[in-house]
């Protein structure tokens, strides 16, 4: 009986720990539609998310393992719910398929007050146990630098250089 209770508590704790996920979706109409005339064709829509539990809002207890080579899906006493790590994962995925990122949005959720299980009564002291979640959403588009010539950018740069030289040496002709 005690073993069963222990197993239940342990499995409950495992469920309570964080979870990292990277959801990727694509449809034909998304690929066929350019987001606007100046941008490449969309390839994928991606949502990266991770959440975890903290003691006093600063000590990480457990969170999803966002490492690219993660063996366990969770990580104890280490903070992986950071915008840097999730942003890095999304950008690494975009780079791996040679894509740019559009419509990048950031979402952060924090809960610091919890009800006692099964009741409407809050646990009287906030910030004892805290929940934090971060999500990034974006659309990966075909990399612009590979499909469009950079002549216009070069011309603009040359013009800017000439203007700068004109300012520095107003008497000389270029």
């Amino acid at each position: 009986m005690k073993k069963t209770a222990k197993a239940l508590v342990l499995s409950g704790l495992a469920f309570l720990t964080g979870c990292f996920s990277m959801d990727i979706a694509q449809t034909d109409s998304l690929r066929e539609s350019a987001l606007s005339s100046n941008n490449g064709k969309p390839l994928e829509h991606v949502v990266v998310s991770n959440y975890g539990w903290y003691l006093f809002n600063c000590i990480p207890l457990a969170c999803g393992n966002a490492a690219p080579d993660a063996f366990f899906p969770w990580r104890l006493f280490s903070n992986h719910v950071t915008s840097n790590i999730l942003h890095d994962r999304m950008m690494a995925h975009a780079a791996s398929i040679n894509a740019d990122v559009r419509d990048l949005t950031f979402f952060r959720d924090e809960k610091v007050i919890f009800d006692l299980p099964g009741t409407d009564f809050p646990i009287p002291i906030p910030y004892v146990l805290c929940f934090r979640e971060i999500q990034f959403s974006g659309t990966l588009t075909q990399r612009k630098s590979q499909k469009e010539p950079t002549d216009s950018i070069r011309k603009k740069t040359v013009d800017e250089m000439n203007q700068l030289l004109d300012k520095l040496n107003p008497e000389e002709e270029h």
Binding site: S33, H45, V47
Partner: protein
Amino acid sequence: MKTCSILLFAAAFCAGCATVNFANDYHGMGIEDGEPPIETVEIENTGWFLFRFIPLGSGNPLKPNKVSCKLFSNTVDLQNNLEMLEDEMERVGAKRVANLTSRKTDESMFIILLTRRAYHTSAVLLK
């Protein structure tokens, strides 16, 4: 009989729902490059899970905005939301999509016993 009705009532609450909402009155304003869009669309699919991962019921992405759900299967994912967006694009004749964003939310009852998961996607549809 009483137990049966309570169970049915609970099951009705545990069923998910897929919805597609839109707004299309822009008062002549342009959203993307000054071009007036067709509509702004918001897609939501929800489902209920036991212990976070056993699906009890979730919305039917093939029949959004209707009383239809899929029992014991998980349809709450990004791919289904994009497919609902694709259907909406076909319905209104949109060729392009802008400001595409998605977000998922989890709400749990009794810690992890019952979890309601929702996936939201919003976008602006253009000709």
